[in-house]
Every structure is written in structure tokens, then in C-alpha cells.
Amino acid sequence: MNASSDLFTVFAGIFGLLAVFSLIGAGLKWRISPGAPHAVIDNLNARIKAWWAMIALIGAAIWLGKGGVIALFAFISFQCLREFISLTHTRIGDHRALLWSFFVFLPAQYILIGIDWYGLFSILIPVYAFLLLPISASLGADTTRFLERAAKVQWGLMICVYCLSHVPALLTLDIDGYAGRNMLLIVFLVLTVQSSDVFQYVWGKLIGKRKVSPAISPSKTVEGLVGGVLTSTAVGAALWWITPFTALEAALIALVINVMGFFGGFVLSAIKRDRGVKDWGSMIEGHGGMLDRVDSISFSAPIFFHIVRYWWVA
């Protein structure tokens, strides 16, 4: 089968599932609290509604091709970096460093994917931004909590730009016998990791009892974690036919990226708790901010990228 008919099949499947979920959500609303607000069910329905929009957006970007996907993730990075820096404390002396981050390093990172310059793509932020941003901040002549501020800006760029940019970078990999099908790698990554988030939520709501760490996240439970990661590992294995992997390889890779994705959400929760907030923002109805939605992708994308690059790129 060719790539576009596989994409069509996968998206048809997702939209079909969403339709089922929407019906279940409407049914729950009708059975349990018709006409009256119900925190859990209303949030569930808001989440499902937002999923329609998010899947449609990703579908549209993929339909537009490489440029569309790069533009979509550049926008996601921009919104995440906005949310991240908005919540972390920087000072007036960091203004220039922030301008560089938003208007130079962020676009440059995605342009490098567009022109397929892997060497600079892989070191632009860890090396050049890492050295140039503190120089720029030091010219602001404010030494108050200098190391902390420099670390925050660098961290924001790593999580929101560098890590996320590895998703569209999957399009630049040359895999033997897989030419023209790289879009499906993105579908595999995003679908597996996001379904893990969904199944962790579902299992947690259904049978969740023991909290993983109440200090960091009041909603993450052991039952949700195990059930979610295992279920979406099965989802990953079931998607082996769209990847260059065997079913077993797909399952193992799905397990790795699901565990990384879980810890992505966990680490970013720790930052949110420290700042005394529940969500990074309010952009996506029911989900919170953009960063709340993609924290798991941010942590899993670079690992997935390197697994594929190391073992599958000739």
C-alpha cells in the first residue's frame, strides 16, 4: 500500500474512534447529569471536542506536506515557549535573551529542518544558544539569580523548541525501503504517545487508587500509569504496519516512548507545582495549555528520533 492510502486508513480510524468517544461522552452526560453541570463529564466532553480540532489540525498539516508539518510544530513550539517563559521568573535583564530565543533560535531550528542541515540542527540550541544567551543576559548587567535565570531560558528552549522539533525532523531521515512514508513515523509517534495520555486518564478515572506521587501530581495514579502505558504499547504494536518496524520492535519502541512521555508530563508537573499552577495555560479547552498537551511528546520525540536514526537509517 502507498503512504497516502495508509494515512487515509489511519485517520479514518481515528475519526471513527472519536465519533464513538463523542457518542459515549454525550451518552454519559445524558444518563448522569442532563442539563446540570458535572465537572468530570463536562471536562471529558471538552477534551473530546478539543481532540477533534487537534486531529483535524494535524491532518491538515500532513496533507500540506513537509512545510505544513514544520509550520505546525514551529507554532506549537512558539506557543509552548510562551507558556513556559510566562510562568517562569525572568528579569528585565533577560529581555534580549528572550528576543533571541523567540525570534532567532526558534525559527532557525525549524528552518534547519526545512533545508535538511542535520549537523547544525542537532547543536544549534544545546551549543550555540547555550553559550550565546547567557552572554546576551550578562550584557543586561543584572546579576540577581543569574545562573537560575540563564538555566530557565535554556531549559525552556530545550523542552519547547529543541525537543519538539525532533517530530518534524523525522521527515528528514532516509530509511531503506521506506522512502516517501516518513509522515507515518510522525503519526506513529504522536498517536502512540497521545493515546498513552488518554489511556492513563481513562484507566486512572476507572480504577485509579494509589497515587504515583501526590506531591507532584494529584491526578496520576499507579493503575492509570500501568494501564495507560500497556494499552498504548498495544496500540503502538498494532500500528506496526505503518512503520519500518516489526510488530515486536514497534511494541518495544512504543513502550520506551510511552515511559518517556509519562515522565515528560511528570517533570513538567513538578515545575507547575513549584510555580503554584495547575495548567500551563488556557489555550485548549479542557486540556489547559499547549504545553500540557505536548509535554509527553517533547520528552519522547528526541528518543524516538535517535532510535530510528541509529538502527534504521543506513
Binding site: F78, R82, E83, I92, L99
Partner: protein
């Protein structure tokens, strides 16, 4: 639509796009009452953001109080503050000869309009809040019918700090607190301390 109205809407739209501003009405609702919104002041964009977060019907009856020494010095600024933002320009200098600022502000309140006031009196380049000037107190005494609503503006000082030309697109939040309750026979200093504390209560925890 006349040019000044159109320009006002465009500026509000731009401010919303740049800052993704979110208004949290924590202690009151956006209602058509006579109000003095008093806020922390870090940036010239502060009142534009408050203005942009109000429903259009209220926006046109809400006037920013602005320093004449800054806003009336060039024709463009004068046009913006007088025509677009419909501001009340006051002379902040103690040795002024013109009209009394408290009376100017009071006239707007008496006409049923609301005000946006920055009681620190100037843009604050540091953290927290500067001590309040006494204008808010005089206004409260002369116009007990006006509600005094504290508004904490978070992040705008970082979007465009004093002296920078290019804004950083951070997200801003406006927290509208509960109106100050009147206290019988309160001294000026006690009132200003209470008002300042009410505003600081809306600020996120410092780290």
C-alpha cells in the same frame, strides 16, 4: 466607524494577540458601574491591556488617567491619549498651575464614567509595588459611590520593559479583585496601605 474608534479597536486586538491576555474576574464581574480600576504599572501598555479586557460597551465609558508630562509632549501621543483612548490627562507636578487632578478625575466619575488609575504614580522598574500616591484616597473620599477595583497585571512589564523596542510575546493575565469596602473614619495612610495590600494580594507568589 470613525478613525479614532477603529484605531482603538485595532490596538486592543493587537494587544490581545501579542499577549494572549486572560482576564480573571476574581472578585467582581464586568458590570456597568462607576468604577476606579487601580493597577500596578510597569509599561505604557498597561491601560491598553485593561481596556482590551473590558467588554466594548464598558470600554468606551472607561478612561485611563495619564501623565500630561508624557502624553501631551508629541502630536502622536496627544492624538492617542485624547482621541483614541479618551484619557484624563493630569499634571503630576506639585508646582502645577492648571486644574486640580483630583477634580479632573472626579468630573469623569460624576459623569458616570469609570477610570483606570495607576496609584504608584510612575512605572515601577523593580518588583512588587511602589508606595501609593494620595490621589486614590482623595478620589475615594470625594466619590464614595465609585467602586475601587484592584487589578493586578502580570507579565506585561516583561513583554515590553522600559526602553525596549521589540516586545517578547509572553502571555499576560489580569486579575480583577473584589472592590475595596469603605471603612468609616479611616486615615489616609491606613487607606492607602489597605488598597496597596488588596492589589498585592492578587499578585502571584514571588520566588
Amino acid at each position: 466607524m470613525p478613525l479614532d474608534r477603529l484605531l482603538g479597536s485595532l490596538l486592543c486586538g493587537f494587544a490581545r494577540l501579542l499577549t494572549g491576555v486572560r482576564a480573571l474576574w476574581l472578585g467582581c464581574e464586568p458590570a456597568p458601574r462607576t468604577r476606579v480600576y487601580f493597577a500596578n504599572h510597569r509599561s505604557h501598555g498597561d491601560f491598553v491591556l485593561i481596556w482590551a479586557s473590558l467588554p466594548p460597551a464598558l470600554r468606551h465609558r472607561t478612561r485611563p488617567v495619564a501623565g500630561a508630562d508624557y502624553w501631551l509632549t508629541t502630536p502622536l501621543r496627544r492624538f492617542l491619549i485624547e482621541r483614541v483612548f479618551n484619557g484624563v490627562c493630569i499634571d503630576r507636578r506639585p508646582e502645577r498651575h492648571g486644574p486640580n487632578p483630583v477634580e479632573q478625575m472626579g468630573a469623569a466619575l460624576a459623569a458616570g464614567e469609570s477610570l483606570i488609575l495607576f496609584p504608584e504614580g510612575t512605572r515601577n522598574m523593580g518588583d512588587g509595588l511602589l508606595p501609593f500616591k494620595s490621589g486614590l484616597h482623595h478620589l475615594a473620599r470625594a466619590h464614595p459611590e465609585a467602586e475601587l477595583v484592584p487589578v493586578w497585571i502580570e507579565n506585561l512589564g516583561r513583554v515590553m520593559p522600559k526602553g525596549s523596542l521589540i516586545p517578547v510575546p509572553l502571555l499576560c493575565t489580569l486579575s480583577f479583585g473584589p472592590p475595596l469596602a469603605p471603612v468609616e473614619g479611616e486615615s489616609r495612610d491606613a487607606f492607602l496601605t489597605r488598597a496597596r495590600a488588596a492589589l498585592l494580594d492578587l499578585a502571584p507568589p514571588a520566588d
